[in-house]
């Protein structure tokens, strides 16, 4: 990969040992907003290396905003994001893009683009004026398509694919970027349960292969099942952080989503399973049948 991973610059930012030493990606004192109005206020977060971190939270609580800031797509009003110990917004964008990839929420492709063409565009940070398409590019694209099971679709037009296939193609594009850290904003939206599981299994494989993954997910039960590090957000702040089994409680869910619920053990995995409480009429029907 790039020669510039894990530079041990002792930036005298006066932070605790936990921010930069063990975490390639972290943020300190982060205030982010649009048009000067903060959405995220004074937030500290770090992404454990090699973790599958999942961010959950209600609509509009600032998950995408956080992810975009971590990926250098959005500039914070105050505070700093650190990548490998360096302030990310001071790094050259291409260098960042070789270490960290972002798949935004609901990406749109131009009309009439083929799958292969789209995936190939993920190689942009590795190319320059002379080396516009190298063997390494070719191998990365081939591997990314094989990993996402999209090899067969190479010549298809993206507009002609199903939602699940399309999502896999976008993931292939992000994979072709070959970054150690991958940020995925709702990679499972619009997918049926089977395809959600399929995409998350793919994520789990990538995680097992050594990548650090950060994903925003809306399905709490799947989030608990796949994540080894959960970040629950409420109104632009972090409500809870930790292993799903430790942090997911009825109180937290009530607090974050305003939803009364029970939490039981997932019979498959033992991870927390969130069951919303049913209003009376539904409950009676269920018990009478």
């Amino acid at each position: 990969m790039s020669p510039d991973t894990n530079t041990d610059t002792s930036t005298s930012t006066g932070m605790g040992t936990d921010s930069t030493d063990r975490h390639r990606l972290s943020a300190r004192n982060l205030t982010v907003g649009y048009h000067g109005k903060p959405v995220i206020d004074e937030l500290d977060v770090h992404i454990p290396d090699g973790s599958f971190t999942v961010i959950v939270g209600a609509n509009g609580c600032g998950k995408s905003t956080l992810l975009r800031t971590l990926a250098r797509v959005l500039s914070p009003l105050r505070g700093t994001v650190f990548l490998d110990g360096e302030p990310i917004h001071a790094l050259p964008p291409k260098q960042v893009a070789r270490r960290l990839g972002l798949l935004p929420q609901g990406p749109v492709a131009p009309d009439g683009i083929t799958v292969l063409d789209l995936v190939a565009r993920g190689r942009h940070p590795h190319q320059n004026l002379l080396s516009r398409w190298s063997e390494a590019d070719e191998r990365a694209v081939r591997d990314a398509m094989a990993a996402t099971d999209t090899t067969e679709l190479a010549d298809a037009y993206l507009d002609e694919l199903s939602g699940g296939q399309r999502q896999r193609v976008w993931l292939a594009m992000a994979l072709a970027q070959e970054t150690g850290i991958l940020l995925l904003d709702e990679p499972t939206t619009f997918l049926d349960l089977a395809h959600q599981v399929e995409v998350l299994n793919l994520c789990a494989r990538l995680h097992a292969a050594g990548r650090t993954l950060v994903a925003v997910l809306h399905d709490l039960n799947l989030a608990c099942r796949y994540a080894d590090h959960l970040i629950a957000m409420r109104d632009g702040a972090i409500a809870a952080v930790g292993r799903p089994g430790e942090v997911v409680t009825p109180e937290l869910i009530e607090d974050v989503f305003g939803l009364p619920c029970r939490v039981i053990d997932d019979p498959e995995t033992g991870t927390p399973l969130v069951i919303p409480l049913a209003p009376n009429p539904l409950r009676q029907e269920a018990s009478s049948s």
């Binding site: 048009h35 975009r68 990926a71 250098r72 797509v73 050259p92 964008p93 291409k94 260098q95 960042v96 893009a97 070789r98 990839g101 972002l102 798949l103 935004p104 990406p107 749109v108 492709a109 131009p110 009309d111 009439g112 683009i113 083929t114 292969l116 063409d117 789209l118 190939a120 565009r121 993920g122 942009h124 940070p125 190319q127 004026l129 002379l130 080396s131 516009r132 398409w133 190298s134 063997e135 390494a136 070719e138 191998r139 694209v141 081939r142 398509m145 094989a146 090899t151 067969e152 679709l153 190479a154 010549d155 298809a156 970027q177």
Partner: protein
Amino acid sequence: MRARIGMSARIDMRARISTVPAGSGRAARLRPVTVRIGAKRGRPGRSVISFRLSLRACLVIAALVAAGLVISALTLSTGSYHVPLSDVVRTVFGDGSTLDRFIITRLREPRLLTALAVGAALGAGGALFQSVSRNPLGSPDIIGFDTGAATGALIVITLIHGTAAQTAAGAVLGGLATAAAVYFLAMRHGVHGYRLILVGIGVGALLSAVNGYLLIRASENDAQSAALWLIGSLNGRGWDYVGPEALALAVLLPAAWWISRALGVLELGDDLSRGLGLRVEWLRGTALLVGVALAASATAAAGPVGFVALSAPQIARRLTATAGPNTLTSALAGAVLLAGSDLAAQQFPTGLPVGVVTAVLGGLYLAWLLSREWRKGRP
């Protein structure tokens, strides 16, 4: 360092037809091949220059060049004084009778070269505009540039009574001022495609009214020459037009080509492109600047010729079946289109301005494009 590698390296051009096994359902289309120059022995994956070459794009380029050559030969040969094709070839290569030489090298060649260069500038400029606005309607003639150029030219013609060169300068200034105005009016937390087009159409409508007023006020004589300029024409373009336009192309086309791959990434949206390491605002600004400069150079040489910037990129995209700006193919398609239109225009005994031909073609094309977009359920 690079030079040393380059000298000691062998040229290794490996043609690989596919990067992945052919799809099962769909017949494999022509896949791009990887070309590597300066590969070092024993070190696969390292080469000085490497790029992807689409066979289909090569075929399209060859076909467009061939079409351009045929049109050029016909243009040089036909007219009120007919020169047989064999004589055309001899004259172009420095031989031939004095009369042929005069007709061809003094009259027809510069006009043809101006048509090709202006067409290329319009095609490439249109490709940049359409890529940045992510919309096939985002071309200089739709978003107000041409109308602004017309306002500049009309002010020079009807109020200052300037020369042709002053008219061209006025047009360029008017176009640039309009482009800048549209850009800043459309800029709110970044420039976005639809806003650029809508603001451009609005500003264009406003300037049309101004243009109409200037024409009404003008004397009959001024109005006539203004109208001729407004429609866009290649009549009487000599070598003094070819030089500046060729110079502009020599600078602007490589620049357009240079940013075109990044523009292909930009078409995936701002967030994704930033995530892929693009400096989005810088790139968009550069692309619009190069696009405006291309459009301005074309307008200075031939007036506001419509349709070419709009359609050449779409033709290129359909021929190459590739998304993205297709800058160079668009330039070729534009050159062929304009030279072909001028050839058609010259078939009329009274000598039709080329802008009339492109406007007729453009009207039909625009209607077709809009009806297609409508059927696809787009605004």
